[in-house]
Amino acid sequence: MKRKSLLLPVTLISCIIFIALPFGSATEFSFRDGGKTKHSLAAYRWILAQEDFLHYLGVSLRLALGAVLITLIIMVPTVAWLHLKAQRYRPLMEFLTLLPLVVPVVALSIGAQSALPEALQSSEYELSFMYVVLAMPYTYRALDIGMSAIPLKTITEAARGLGASWIKAITYVIAPVIRNAVIGSLFLTLALSLGEFTLTSLLHWDTFPTWVTSVSQQNIIGAIALSVFSLAAAFFLLFAIGLVTMRSKSDAMEGHK
């Protein structure tokens, strides 16, 4: 019995040590002045002095928002339609949207490079489209599970039966109940797009993650400081979204009371 109760703390402490090792080291390293034992904010000052820092952060955000927008426009209505009217196509869509998971991103990059039309390849926004493909197995699943959890069809039919127009049904019934699933899937797209490296670098574009790699060749401490920054930002973003979805969940609960 005694041993059992120690299992959780021991596991947690091992996990914390495991995680803290590179994170702690990297944080310490990023404060080193010129690689010596003296500590300073030099690396972070260096980052802020780089014009490229904000530039590539902006590029990454722009492309990620593009991917989010495309997901919102094509994925959300499609999955909602599958649940409302086209249940029999769900297995087919599930199969098709899972396939990008089977193909390594490196292989898809080669395909995109050799098959997409020149006009598209000359714009960095081709990446937004490709990010949507990479995220599709996750966004589809997130939307599908979210919409399976609620009787979307029944409540929509109820709204229509009570005389609501389609527009009213969408605004007042469908949109509020699928909101969490939609936010979740959009966040997945955003996170994946912001961190994407493989496809971006193989298609010869530069975004924030590829810029960090190129920085490492001239200033390794700068690259390490940037890595600390980007993972910290990812955690922060994630917990912020977690809070938002949790709050809207409890709002929805209160609405039911």
Partner: protein, 301 residues
Amino acid sequence: MTSTTHNDVVAKGVPSRGTLGRHNLSVAIPLLPVMIFLGFFFFFPMAMVFIDSFKSNQGHWSLINMTTILNNPYRMAFINSIKLGLVSAITASIPGAFIAYVIERKGSQSLRRIITSLSGVLANTGGVPLAFMFVAAFGAEGSAVMILKKLGWNIYASHFTLFSFTGIVVVYLYFQIPLMIIVFSPAIHGIRKEWRDASENLGARPIQFWRFVGLPLLLPSFAASFLLLFASAFAAYATARAMTVGNIALVPLQIGNLVDGNVQVNQANAGKALAVGMVVISAIAMIPYLVIQRRARRWQS
């Protein structure tokens, strides 16, 4: 859940049997945008890769690329990548499954949430930052190395280097273990307390519960997760690219080199053949993974 929707489908199918064909098609029209999107950005490019990989650089049908990739240096790269996938899957799946078990069984609801979120970030966006964090910890001037040196152990005295096969396996643990936790937790969650109680009431000892109920239930999910981890390490590019200086031949890195034009021009289509090779190996792991996951979901939800 799944059975309800299945029943819906069956029930709906019956009355409209007479107009089935027409009904089907019109209902599918709103699905076209996603189909066209996937077709253009996914199926078409992949089809082109397959076709080109069976063409010589002069555009004739040929198996020359296939023979090229079956010989060195590419043969070695495939062996290395498969080895990396297997070693990484073994070293990550066992601790990952253990952590998932402990957290699911003993952890509180909020702890489970935190672990899931953490795992999500590490598994999906960790790659490049993690590589540089490891340089900070275990590079020649790294913090962990210096602490160990003060404690009297210079790990660089023996032939250790972070930029080696072992180094890559260690760094991969940092996104592979979280990935294992994400995909394996639902399986543990799905083992219901009632089953345990039932087997106890029937007189089973804990070991018998695990032997006859628990493990047979978890084994398919474990195998599936293992396959996913294999595919993930086999195909990983970003971390390997950020960490190695080209000293280890891995298939994704070689494709990267071919795309960047760092090699002879006459191997333009060899990169596509390598990509086809990767898709085949990845599919061997991922298709069973998807099939097992699909079946497991029936009792997990």
